[in-house]
């Protein structure tokens, strides 16, 4: 059976010419590829969600518990027992509004970090754009966020009944809250682009993050209002993008918060830098790291 190439019918697929070279493709190519593989996003997102309560008896109820329990207990502890002041709204509302974007960040980052490692079996056997993995790994965090937002809604209604005050109203500033969520997503994935690749090489990364996160939370104005920091040092908090994001969310929803122009600018620059460097790092290091999985 000799092949007679000229007599064979044309390929019935789009005969794209492709090329494999040691150096990585440009970012634009990657984006195009991501779009071509968009059907996979949902699959990996659903997988990440299912992994959250796989083999548990309570199932989805765990999701609710895992959000409400820590938020409720912490709010009770800091607001009730220690008597931290919120400078305005009820402490529980103040605390849970601060926790929204933080929970999205914290819970997602751990999943994003492990996204390459968790799908090792697939990643080392079949090709698809790896970037899908960290991107779709924010799904669990988004679900937590949604649950917490629902809790906040009920709380607001509760306080309306109790005190006759709408602590959160529908007003244009609310859009800032959505911007804060969007920024959190960008920041989470950007940090995750670094950590997921590092995690593939050094499984220590996950451990490190897990112990580092509480400290990060303490330097973020969630438990306490930003006003307890002396005025002249307040801009420094901008070095922590999560602080600005949390403040932005609180300002958008509760109307209490500090939108400090300098620190906001610093935070935006930080987020931008993390994103650009993250994309660069992931793009250039992803394949060599996968060799080590």
């Amino acid at each position: 059976m000799s092949s007679a190439p000229d007599s064979t019918p044309a390929l019935n697929v789009s005969g794209d010419l492709w090329m494999i070279e040691p150096q990585q493709h440009g970012v634009l190519d990657r984006v195009r590829e991501l779009w071509r593989y968009r059907y996979l996003w949902w699959y990996f997102a659903a997988e990440a969600l299912k992994a959250m309560y796989r083999r548990t008896k309570l199932g989805w109820i765990w999701l609710v518990i895992r959000v409400t329990a820590p938020v409720g207990v912490s709010a009770l502890f800091f607001g009730g027992v220690l008597g931290v002041s919120s400078n305005g709204p009820p402490y529980f509302l103040f605390f849970s509004c601060g926790m929204t974007t933080w929970i999205l960040f914290e819970r997602s980052l751990l999943v994003v970090t492990r996204s390459l490692e968790r799908n090792r079996k697939l990643v080392t056997k079949v090709y698809f754009p790896r970037l899908i993995l960290p991107l779709s790994a924010v799904a669990p965090g988004l679900l937590y966020l949604t649950i917490l937002l629902v809790v906040i809604c009920f709380t607001v209604i509760y306080y309306r009944r109790l005190e006759g005050v709408w602590y959160i109203t529908l007003r244009p500033q609310l859009l800032l809250a959505f911007l804060a969520i969007l920024l959190t997503l960008i920041f989470t994935v950007s940090v995750g682009l670094w950590t997921s690749v590092m995690q593939a090489r050094y499984p220590d990364v996950r451990q490190g993050i897990r112990y580092f996160m509480p400290f990060w939370m303490y330097v973020t104005p969630i438990i306490y209002p930003l006003t307890i920091i002396p005025e002249q040092w307040r801009w420094l908090i901008g070095l922590n993008p999560m602080a600005s994001i949390v403040e932005m969310f609180k300002w958008g929803t509760l109307g209490y918060g500090q939108l400090h122009p300098t620190s906001m600018t610093i935070s935006f620059v930080m987020i931008g830098l993390t994103m650009v460097s993250g994309i660069w790092f992931f793009n250039s290091q992803e394949s060599t790291s996968i060799d080590k999985l």
Binding site: D6, T8, P9, E21
Partner: protein, 422 residues
């Protein structure tokens, strides 16, 4: 027109230098390695391993290219580079169209999902939209022959069913290039045949290019148009299937027998009552031979030594082909043997019984002392040899699939009666 051009592909891995093997290190060394500075071994002691080195070849459209080579030669690495799973260290590959790979059974399958969901997921992995996959679902299920199991989670599938589904999905993704790594070894013969036939048909009809990695030389020489032989990460030979396969088999046979004496194999060749001295393959005139011709009788000679008196012995051997036990034969009766003597058992394998392929022989000698205590001496893989056929015969019957034996059977064809056609 080429569908795949591989130019100077190399792949280097950096792996940590291995520790001294367990047991040989002293207690102090073990302690030191436990408290060695983390990361230091990673950073300093990296070792280069070249899985592929400067591999170049071109594949015409519609070719079924066989990729052969020993374990660890780099065949799978090559396929992974072509499928973009791993990036090459240097070199370039150009190709046309969609590459679909069947690198490992069950890769890209979710055990807890049903066959239907897995079809969609695999389609997504190959960049095929769900709607398109839904259109093809029926033909996928039909080819895999599992109409009753569409909504069964695949973890309840047998490995054969798994393979059928995986293969069926792969060819229905309309690939231009299909990479198949050894997985056809799993299915039942009937389905294997169907896959190979399908591969050949698609190659001819749509110009599908197939890279087919296999250790089944018979299948390789039957379905491939060309064969490349990868050895130590390099392209060793490339050419007509028959030539390359024959050369490969000869080399494999030489490697197996070179320097390997039955004594060193670690099987229980020596025991309390005796030991197996050697096992040889002899021609009818008593010469030691490596590979016998098909048309001659061949003898297996087993030499063993006894230690004790009042012992009975019986020799036996197993003949394997492609991992299948072809036959087991043993001396019909126990024989009394004397102490401290060398005995020689000779068994004839008649001419025209074996197929033109590779065989392995395991040898056993059972020694029974005082009609009570039984002891077996075993040499696994005592002999590995290839039977070769006459050139003329091969061309007469054409390329055909061989069984594990190929005895010359008597055929007749007689005229029985005339049929009056209405």
């Amino acid at each position: 027109m080429h569908s795949l051009v591989v130019e100077g592909i190399s792949k280097r891995y950096l792996v940590p230098r291995p520790h001294k093997s367990e047991g040989t290190e002293t207690r102090l060394e073990r302690l030191r390695s436990m408290f060695s500075i983390p990361l230091a071994r990673d950073l300093l002691g990296a070792q280069e391993i070249w899985a592929l080195r400067d591999v170049s070849f071109e594949v015409e459209r519609g070719t079924v290219l066989g990729v052969i080579g020993g374990n660890g030669a780099g065949k799978t690495t090559l396929l992974k580079v072509i499928s973009k799973v791993i990036a090459p260290t240097s070199g370039r590959i150009r190709g046309y169209g969609r590459v679909v790979s069947l690198l490992e059974l069950g890769a890209g399958f979710d055990d807890e999902a049903t066959a239907r969901e897995n079809v969609y997921m695999n389609a997504a992995i190959n960049g095929v939209p769900r709607a398109v996959a839904a259109e093809r679902l029926n033909s996928i299920i039909d080819f895999a022959d599992m109409q009753n199991f569409v909504d069964t989670p695949v973890m309840y599938f047998s490995s054969g069913m798994y393979l059928r589904l995986a293969f069926s999905v792969a060819i229905n993704m309309q690939p231009s290039i299909l990479l198949a790594d050894e997985i056809l070894a799993v299915g039942d013969l009937e389905f294997q045949e169907r896959c190979l036939q399908k591969v050949r048909d698609l190659a001819r009809e749509t110009g599908l290019t197939v890279l087919f990695v296999s250790h089944d030389m018979e299948a390789v020489s039957r379905i491939c148009n060309r064969v490349i032989w990868i050895k130590d990460g390099q392209l060793h030979r490339s050419g007509e299937p028959e030539d390359v396969v024959t050369e490969y088999q000869n080399a494999a046979w030489e490697m197996l027998t070179a320097g390997e004496k039955p004594e060193n194999k670690g099987s229980a060749h020596a025991g309390r009552y005796g030991e197996i001295v050697d096992v040889k393959l002899l021609s009818a005139d008593g010469r030691e031979i490596g590979s016998p011709p098909k048309w001659e009788d061949v003898y297996v000679r087993i030499r063993f030594r006894t230690y004790r008196a009042k012992t009975q012995a019986r020799c036996a051997f197993d003949l394997f082909c492609k991992g299948v036990l072809v036959l087991r034969s043993s001396q019909p009766d126990l024989m009394w043997v004397g102490p401290d003597t060398i005995y020689e058992a000779l068994v004839k394998i008649p001419a025209s019984l074996l197929s033109e392929t590779n065989y392995t022989i395991n040898v056993g000698v059972t020694l029974i002392r005082a009609e009570r205590e039984e002891h077996s001496l075993v040499v696994n893989r005592a002999l590995t040899f290839m039977v070769y056929g006459a050139e003329a015969k091969e061309t007469a019957t054409g390329k055909h699939r061989m069984g594990v034996i190929d005895p010359t059977l008597e055929w007749s064809l007689e005229r029985k009666a005339d049929v009056v056609r209405a």
